[in-house]
Symmetry: C2
Subunit: 337 residues, 2 copies
DNA sequence: TCCTCGGTTTGAAAGGTTTCAACGGAAACG
DNA sequence: CGTTTCCGTTGAAACCTTTCAAACCGAGGA
């Protein structure tokens, strides 16, 4: 595999100076048509490809953004990524996805690598929003936006969704439907989202004047389908006199697991138990019983995050912003009988 | 935001030459402990971060791999990605994911950008395995491995799964269960996978001596949940005397859509219709009726692809290989009554 | 005292691109 | 015919790191 050819080779072959080749690449209008044609032909002959490293070295900045995400298997994040991609694309940049897979060490490695690469900006949904790795990125001057997490700290931009409101919407919906005994399913409560959604649920519950102990918390160890199934078993184990008539799950995967567990056991949804999920992932609408869920503007989240990071990269007097989006309840058969 | 500091700044602050700083970075054992400490302190004081572009420019190669994938929402691909990540990680490289979202133009942009970046290697599940963009990458000396697609062309490495065999396994399973009228659901047949799976199905059907016209093809416009639902409507529209008793779907998303459509209509699975999916994604096992599916060694696919691309990058007399993995049928309730 | 040897440190060159001041030539102008 | 203007082109410098031959230094041996 012979060495890749450089502008110098192109210049030699086209009998022009190397500055001219660069002009053809970057300011073609300044070059006379004849010369341009000659140079372009030489490029084709040599199979010339710009060396982005050198370009970047000179320019001091790259033409890429990156999104470091928690869990590539969760459709929520891929939708966010898609929004970011659209924004990146319209700014003429490429977006690389980096999958931290919920591991801080991987996240740290990726962040370090991205900073070394001098990417134009980083979006991240961090394992821990208070990790010092985030500050390190900032210290090195790489713009960084926190996605779907918050940190009470105005040194970073962030975009998130109002989870307290989301919890409130879910429970208000159930209360309106007449439920007076409801389970909240979710955990662990180290996850800010889970805490906020529960807080919102409690607010709505209290506002409706219902007794506190009739909002039952069923704690899970994670937000997965299989955790949902095991939560389902626990709910069914509750004596029927005290069993809730509805459940609000901290995300859709839990809700899907729960739904599956119930139908395996021969119970019906929403007859025996109404279910509200959270995230409104594609599979929610496609479930055996379409799920009522709280929808977050996922693409919008990604798009906005990308815009903020670009603003930070380009505007010298950029102000950090904490953007909070509003969720919305989508009612489907799992609560509507 | 002041200019990022360089080795030169570090050298000045530590009162050593710039070659020494580089040695601390790359061959610390050659530097005396005292000097090393001095330099490391200076790096911390300045918040020095290596400039990867410059390093790369000098070294001629980068420390990243990339996987350009078709559909980040399909768990199949994210599992493949995970396998590739593991292999990359153990080789000390980072893996970037690029989402082409089934659009050739995006794929082309990403490939071009990656070649310009001189990444060490590219894995790609191409929109069209015969696209000339792939040859362009090769021409520029960047190793490239085709994942989950094939191209009868030994100028590329590829890793794939034997889809004909997979189709055969699925239909053999249904034949053994006594079905004599089966629907194949999938499309469009521009997708190689779909063609191969159907071909395998036909082979098995013929081998069992069953009449050709009792294997009904229900064509879809894509491999999504909603296509599955609409296929379900069409299957149910078939006069009951001629309606198949089982369906083999070209992937799990179709199967999930089909399943949902049937249960909405009050039909039971497998009683009224047995279903076999393909891919064995996580949601297959977690469906309302757990799906029988054909499992592909997804992580293994990614791992192997990454290994091949690294071999191509490092071994001067690398031989291109077409690796074909063997799928496996996982029987669950959707066919087992 | 001089030399040799080992381990450290140095300084310059190289890698490919972009930028920019300067240059040359031709056309337009006086 | 001489001067100005404008356009296209040139060549060198700069970006930051790594490498490598050469210089250096102190210690031990002759």
């Amino acid at each position: 595999m012979e060495r890749a050819s450089s502008v110098k080779d192109v210049a030699a072959l086209a009998h022009v100076s190397l500055g001219t080749v660069s002009n053809v690449l970057n300011r073609p209008e300044r070059v006379s048509p004849a010369t341009r044609a000659k140079v372009e032909q030489a490029m084709r002959d040599l199979g010339f490809v710009r060396n982005e490293s050198a370009r970047q070295l000179r320019a001091g900045r790259s033409r890429t953004l990156a999104y470091v995400l928690l869990d590539a298997r969760n459709p929520f994040f891929t939708d966010v990524a898609q929004g970011a991609e659209l924004a990146a694309e319209s700014a003429g940049l490429s977006l690389f996805l980096c999958h931290s897979d919920n591991r801080s060490s991987r996240e740290r490695d990726y962040l370090a690598h991205l900073v070394e690469q001098r990417v134009q900006g980083i979006l991240v949904t961090p394992v821990d929003p208070h990790a010092s790795a985030l500050e390190d990125v900032r210290r090195n001057g790489t713009p960084l936006v926190i996605v779907d997490r918050t940190r009470n700290d105005d040194r970073f931009c962030s975009v998130a969704v109002d989870d307290v409101l989301g919890g409130r919407l879910a429970v208000e919906h159930l209360v309106e439907a007449g439920h007076t005994r409801v389970a909240f399913i979710g955990g662990p409560d180290t996850i800010g989202q889970v805490r906020d959604r529960l807080a919102g649920a409690r607010e709505a519950w209290a506002a409706a004047g219902l007794p506190e102990d009739q909002l039952v918390v069923v704690a899970t160890d994670g937000l997965t389908v299989s955790e949902g199934r095991s939560a389902g078993e626990r709910v069914m184990g509750i004596a029927s006199s005290r069993r809730p008539s509805a459940a609000f799950c901290a995300n859709d995967l839990l809700a899907l697991g729960l739904l599956q567990q119930l139908s395996t056991a021969g119970l019906t949804v929403p007859g025996d138990l109404a279910i509200v999920g959270y995230d409104d992932i594609e599979y929610a609408a496609a479930a055996a019983v379409p799920l009522t869920s709280v929808r977050q503007p996922r693409q919008e989240l990604g798009r906005r995050a990308a815009e903020l990071v670009l603003d930070e990269a380009e505007d010298p007097d950029h102000q950090h912003q904490q953007v909070v989006f509003t969720p919305e309840l989508v009612a489907r058969r799992s609560t509507l009988g």
